[in-house]
């Protein structure tokens, strides 16, 4: 992947750049909003990581200008501010996701992969499939190896999100935001319990484990045979 990073804080930029290169992505870094906009227009990037507060041109302005010119590249916004309004403004300006500083690198990586994936998969799909696990979006039927699984509505939503992001790490906050649709900090890891209940239903009695926990990062649903 070829990623453009627009970030004026050298420390943060170094840290993100190093992490992305470790994950075998190539990174181009600019520290100025105006320059960032020019590079974003000219180059062909798979994704942009844009800080909100930038010298030259505000981060949101950069995104708005790009979108106005028909540029649909996925954008992840970084911000030091955590207000709900900022998140809403960021997404309204055309950002695809929003991450508040400081963040764990795993969180950045998971969200970056999620917005890249969103570009590739269509939300109008009617069938999702991971190994022998199948989800029929029209009849709301889930089955594994032909065996129908009985899921609660929330378990269904949770599984749907995991299947849409199959093969990539999904963090706890991503699940809270997308499956439960609330932005909040759970005091205890309540998501773990939901995951383990879901795992009971989809993995119990099967040889291959599809849903696994990635320590310190989140959860991963993938077909072990494809790795």
């Amino acid at each position: 992947m070829h990623i453009l990073l627009i970030e004026d804080d050298q420390g943060v930029a170094d840290y993100i750049g190093r992490g992305l290169r470790d994950n075998r992505h190539s990174v181009e870094h600019v520290a100025n909003g105006l320059e960032g906009l020019q590079r974003g227009q000219a180059g062909t990037f798979d994704a942009l990581i844009v800080d909100r507060m930038l010298p030259g041109l505000d981060g949101l302005q950069v995104i708005e200008d790009l979108r106005r010119n028909g540029n649909k590249v996925p954008v992840l916004i970084l911000s030091a501010l955590g207000d709900v309004d900022d998140r809403v403004n960021g997404l309204r300006a055309g950002g695809d996701d929003y991450l508040v500083k400081p963040f764990a690198f795993a969180e950045l990586m998971a969200r970056l992969e999620a917005i890249l994936r969103r570009q590739q998969t269509s939300s109008y799909e009617t069938r999702l499939k991971v190994a022998d696990l199948e989800m029929d979006m029209l009849s709301h039927r889930v089955s594994r190896a032909g065996q129908v699984l009985n899921l609660q509505p929330r378990e269904y939503k949770l599984l749907e999100y995991l299947m849409r992001h199959a093969g990539q790490v999904v963090t706890r906050t991503m699940l809270l935001e997308n499956v439960w649709d609330y932005h909040f900090d759970p005091q205890t890891n309540v998501i773990d319990v939901h995951i383990s209940r879901l795992r009971q239903k989809i993995d119990r009695g099967f040889e291959l484990t599809l849903l696994s926990t990635v320590r310190g990062a989140g959860y991963l649903l993938q077909d072990p045979g494809t790795v």
């Binding site: 420390g11 207000d83 709900v84 764990a104 900090d185 309540v190 310190g216």
Partner: protein, 456 residues
Amino acid sequence: MNLKKILASLTFRFMVAYVAGLSLAVFIVLALLFASYSYNYFSEVNKTTHNEALRLEAIYNNGGRAALAAVLAAPQSGRAAQDFLYLLVDKDRNKLSGTLHSWPANSYASWLALEYGVSFEGWAPGREQLIAATLPLRDGEMLLVARDYSDMILFERIIVSVLLRSMIVTIVMGALGGAVVAGRGLQSVDAINRAVQSIMAGDFAKRIDLHNSGGDFLTLAININRMLDRIQTLMEGMRQVSDNIAHDLRTPLTRLRNHLASLQARVDGDEQHTVQALLEEADSLLATFSALLRIAQVESGNRLSGFSRLDLSVILHDVVELYEPLAMEKQIVITTEVQAPLPLSGDRDLLFQAFANLLDNAIKYTPENGAICIRSSGRDGGLLVEVADSGVGISLADRERVFRRFFRVESSRSMQPGNGLGLSLVQAVVNLHRGSIVLSDNSPGLKVAVRLPSTA
């Protein structure tokens, strides 16, 4: 503007006292007028009566009884005819001459009669109020000259009636004027109160509207607005500082955490566990900072802009749905008696956070096979949500303290993980929504009652 408020207002009370004082002053002035007029009137009456008596005595002395009788019997002319009454009697008080038919049986000296006179009652028909002077003549004969003062009584009645009417007019006008002035004053006070209340609830951009006030209230409103500007500047400065501290500490802490994460990938065996423990420590520190910043953000009132119309029952169901599996792991049964809809204006994420914290606490401190009950209802323009558990409860002494930042009940420090910020955040969220929170004994366990204003 309700009447009760007007009656209780300082302005109205001042006006009542003012009217009472004014009435008293009017009363005193009229009473003095009356007293002074009466005094002069009676002095005059006494003097003329006395002079008349002296004139008649002179006639008696010169011409004897016959001359006097002739004068008394002769038709009188002028003012004296209407005013004076006469009686000449012998030593046995038998009538010899005059316009009165008999000597008064009962006479008494009254203060109105002054030094010369005697007042009689029920004696001369139609002329009950008389002032008289008696004059002893020769051979025990007596002369009585009397004068009627009913015109004075009439005047007295007029004065009393004027007094009463002017008092009533003074009181009615004063009370009405007082109510109007108090009402206008209250409107200005009300405007100031409303503005101050919404500022206390966190809407720091709110200012008092200057359009409807004038005079002293305008000055007061301008001064309060200036004070608020100053407070806001100071608060923004404070928040800037605390935000900077939190940000400056969080950034290196995140860097530390990320270094640890990359270190974890390179080590193995026992060191893996050590690094994992360090990572968890760093995560919990970061979580504490996030919680602190979130509380500060909620308390600053910035989140008011994110308010929208919500149904609290939906949020409560979502919270229960999220936490139910956690409770089931401890065989805790959650029962819900949630009335729907529960309309209110609020921040969806913060309300979810607050009730999630309450339910999380309830699950933490309720032993296995316990029970948690969530009840909610809307009444009297407010919403009531109760989260009751069968856990260890909180002692009376600790019930206020648990809302303080970093306070943890002593027994829970060792038992449960946590940073002591959960309930502080709940309280901040409830305050932001202008609600209240009360802890009580569920014997056994704890009952948390949250009251929020409804929009229904």
